[in-house]
Symmetry: D2
Subunit: 362 residues, 4 copies
Amino acid sequence: MSKRIGILTGGGDCPGLNGVIRAVVLHARNTHGWETVGIRNGFEGLYEQQYVDLDPAKVQTILARGGTMLGSSNRANPFGYPLRMPDGRVEIHDVSSRCIANLERLDLQGLVVVGGDGTMSFGQKFIEKGATRIVGVPKTIDNDLEATDYTIGFQTAVEVVVEALERLATTAESHERIMIVEVMGRYAGWIALTAGLAGGAHVVLVPEIEYDIDKVIAAFNRRSARGVSYSIVVCAEGAKPKGGDYAVAVKGDVTKQDKLGGAGQRLAEVITERTEYEVRTTVLGHIQRGGTPCAFDRELATRFGVKAVDLIASGQFGHVAALENNKLVGKPIAKAVKKLKLVDPHGELARSARAVGIELGD
Amino acid sequence: MSKRIGILTGGGDCPGLNGVIRAVVLHARNTHGWETVGIRNGFEGLYEQQYVDLDPAKVQTILARGGTMLGSSNRANPFGYPLRMPDGRVEIHDVSSRCIANLERLDLQGLVVVGGDGTMSFGQKFIEKGATRIVGVPKTIDNDLEATDYTIGFQTAVEVVVEALERLATTAESHERIMIVEVMGRYAGWIALTAGLAGGAHVVLVPEIEYDIDKVIAAFNRRSARGVSYSIVVCAEGAKPKGGDYAVAVKGDVTKQDKLGGAGQRLAEVITERTEYEVRTTVLGHIQRGGTPCAFDRELATRFGVKAVDLIASGQFGHVAALENNKLVGKPIAKAVKKLKLVDPHGELARSARAVGIELGD
Amino acid sequence: MSKRIGILTGGGDCPGLNGVIRAVVLHARNTHGWETVGIRNGFEGLYEQQYVDLDPAKVQTILARGGTMLGSSNRANPFGYPLRMPDGRVEIHDVSSRCIANLERLDLQGLVVVGGDGTMSFGQKFIEKGATRIVGVPKTIDNDLEATDYTIGFQTAVEVVVEALERLATTAESHERIMIVEVMGRYAGWIALTAGLAGGAHVVLVPEIEYDIDKVIAAFNRRSARGVSYSIVVCAEGAKPKGGDYAVAVKGDVTKQDKLGGAGQRLAEVITERTEYEVRTTVLGHIQRGGTPCAFDRELATRFGVKAVDLIASGQFGHVAALENNKLVGKPIAKAVKKLKLVDPHGELARSARAVGIELGD
Amino acid sequence: MSKRIGILTGGGDCPGLNGVIRAVVLHARNTHGWETVGIRNGFEGLYEQQYVDLDPAKVQTILARGGTMLGSSNRANPFGYPLRMPDGRVEIHDVSSRCIANLERLDLQGLVVVGGDGTMSFGQKFIEKGATRIVGVPKTIDNDLEATDYTIGFQTAVEVVVEALERLATTAESHERIMIVEVMGRYAGWIALTAGLAGGAHVVLVPEIEYDIDKVIAAFNRRSARGVSYSIVVCAEGAKPKGGDYAVAVKGDVTKQDKLGGAGQRLAEVITERTEYEVRTTVLGHIQRGGTPCAFDRELATRFGVKAVDLIASGQFGHVAALENNKLVGKPIAKAVKKLKLVDPHGELARSARAVGIELGD
């Protein structure tokens, strides 16, 4: 039997996962003569031994396809895995040793783990428990990994948000409204800030900068004073007002707090309370992470997949493929998952936003 | 002074309005030598005398632009118009006579009123009060006017929904989820049914067919039994369960009813209550009615605008431009606003949906 | 063995073919319990007995995919079929009897033939030779079949052309150029005229109207006189100057004629000869007929596929599915292929074009 | 009178120019209180004194718009400027001193010159002649400037090419054809290679690697032997066969050479001569450089524009804004224009292409 490698995708899906899978399969076969086995549904598939043999024909047309052909799973954590017992109850177990045993039985040259923070940290723990032949490909729509300039899926999310901003802008303008668009980004505001810059937003609120609601409203008023009666606000889902307390923002009415929804909806409530502007909120949600990747992500996914196989071939286990100053390098997984990359409130991107008149609320 | 005509756009905006304005301005000038005056913000602009002179240069690049360059307004009803009094209170007044007087002062060959149901019915009342030189262009994103095969904006909304369905499908598939997409359509399910057909949805719920939640769940189960663990549901905002009572659907817990959101959110709640499927809801909202029109709507908008000027030129006042069996005709406004065009549960479109396996819940 | 039907796609591919195949397979199975056999590569596959069993799983994800999963072929004509002899020569043979024998051996409830003019006429001849259980779905990117309001693929082509026009317009404007865009349409100008209307073109040249080059140049000059130094020309590949003689158009230099390329290139040569405008030509070519169908075509393809199965189920053999006044009907194949639907130079679409200032060259 | 700066755009247009103009105007006004004067049509406008005052309102909606609102010109070279004499003849003159005098009369804090190689070198010469207050923004669709990681317009071109590849792939597949797509890139193959990687091409030919036609044909044959009868070739307009001599490639028929068209057409001829594959060529042409910029380019254009104003404000004249390892920096113009950035045949991008099975012809 010829040698082979494995691949699994974990965590939330994003555009580009299939491009990684395709590149891994093609490079392994073309360059090294290795077969590739796909492990379905992330670590669940490793535990349940759900495997699929991959070959060039199977990955032929997936480069342009969103999602992951291998599936993902909510039973993602092998160290705290929900097992359904015969009596119907669900118990949480550590199944990592069983996973590692299954992995050994597969007898792979190496395993490519594609995932974000969580998936990577499980990979790291596997290595520490002796399953050393693991390499990683970083994936998060939020682009918040310190290890790499770009993660796959991020640029597609930005393109989707910018297209939505364009669609919403014409309505906002026609009806003279404040249009709030809530986008992904619980801890990091990269999608909000990049899309806000590219989409001509007037206010951008990110988790890294607690916003002063008075400054946000002042921005609307400045535009209004110039005769422009609409504004586009991009609001990351993790954006918070100064003090982080919405009750304060709506003037102490604590009872209100419970009824408030996401960050966009909350902001809308406050603006409506405090001004006469007509406000509408749109939560873009899952359309940001699904569908066909933009060319940038297709290219990046392909290069990441190629690099992952290179890491295996050169024995650089325990490393992730990363883009550093436009060059593909390998970086220790441990380091890659350690630290979030956050928007610097005084960095070049934030300064560029302010320079073109975007209110960041600080 | 040369002769001139007027144009106003009323109601919610939609892609194609600018195409109508452009065609009216160009045809009036090119063919008849008439100038065109734009009335801003619908009937509000007629009351407030907010006018703008339009010429070919001003409409040069608007064909591809969403929204309406003339603006729209919430103060749309001249027969019940919110007036702010000197003491700050808002009183509702009938300002129609003043509007008609302003219209007479403009001394137009004719006025093109672009709008939906509401706007058209105000136009009809103006005619009945003596302002007879009015013609109409029907506009509703919902395509629910009996008078015309297609209204502008509808096809663009369908394209936007189908693109969103594609983005959501890859995520649904990767994560084995029920993905509910709430789309526009309070009374008519044209967007939901057409987009569902074109976007490969598995369940489509429209206002015209009260759905049996058991049948909806059975559709998920049938797919699940075939090993397909995800489903896409397109749910019109006006879709209702049989009996119309959500409390019943969630097994009599009346207290729950109040907390429920829109039709998509409510459906998600019920499915979550009654099954173990993981459910996600996306409310597409305003991105369906904003942004650049698709080619179909740009063409239709242009032809409608040309026809509106033809109606004025031939003295067919009191008529709207309409598409009947692919031919442009004039139809009495009174007739155009009288009756909604609804999805026929036994018509060809619904039957085509069932034929390809779409569950309509009946 | 359960009953079954067959399907083949012939002629040039276009967006929507897969949607027809999908709907046929699903409706046959869901409604009638029939299997579907796909015949590969049009009539070539019938002669060579290249079959593939189709089922819902195989057509699951093809609705959004361009081209045809069954393939098409240049060896399309069973009445004049190129056979390679053992000595390497190619001889033309009538293989229709063999095809019909193969068809009988398949023992189908009916055969769905999806194709344009040529494919349909072969189908009609098969019927005349006794293979009567044939129904058709009309397909031509050019929308030039008298039998149906719309053919699949046409609207997608129009969307693609309009998007290209938008991209070219900004370049034309920045550089003050005449930009000629050659589009499909050898005999009928529907793509050119519809896309020209929707894309804001300034000159549209269609096969149905021989153009007067002086009028075309006069249109550029009129714009130039208004200070607008660029123009967009949409030129159908079948557009011809008055008299049809390019040599005349370029002032009698007959030797030039041979070197001239397509209709767009020729027009560019003449304009360059006779004016000082800077001219650029773009031939859109195959991108008009490939790729994902727009929502309109996905819907239409689905409805056509459903109707084709209905025609078989109701025994209406010898008919094609057609859209007549927005209703799906069956029409005799013989009638469907008899007559091209051409642009009426005095019809509403051409008049709308002139009304918004488009020069048609007549 | 308040202080002011100037801006001109030179050379071929590309998506993102308007984004630079907008950012310059907004940042100058918002941050420094400077007005901005736009110089129309590149250096022609400087000579002819065609100026336009820019303000926030004028640049409000141009971020998403392709081309350049300032226009560009073929009379681009102030050191060899075509002047029309009273007798109608055109003479070439050095008008640079007059341009510089006009520039001094404008009394600007600084001039932003947006352009490629040519435009930048004129800027550099102006500086050497004493017009020192010049800064630059690099622009070339080809991404071939050593000074910067990315130039504006490049990523949009790649997205457009990838979309075209997708449309062409389904046709190629349905008809079993070799589909050649000629893309921009006279000296550098960045568009071809990046789009080929992202678009799933099978052969990519770039100017930096003279291709061995035997290897190209062998790639088709390998696919054919696996039962895959179509291939997608991306061919940069500057791609050449080994030896650079097409006559050799078509086996010594020198007379043929003259009739051959562009690189794509020539390649098609050779393949047709030497094989039985059916070949089609598409020349994407100007659609690659027109139209709305992708989000990546809108962001980059904004950041470049902001940086250009920063360079003026900090007195870093003679520098261009550049992206170096994802950071915005200033680099000497002289250095920026000195050296083309070419695809390294042994670099990571080329190796990634080979790894996924793309034939580069070497």
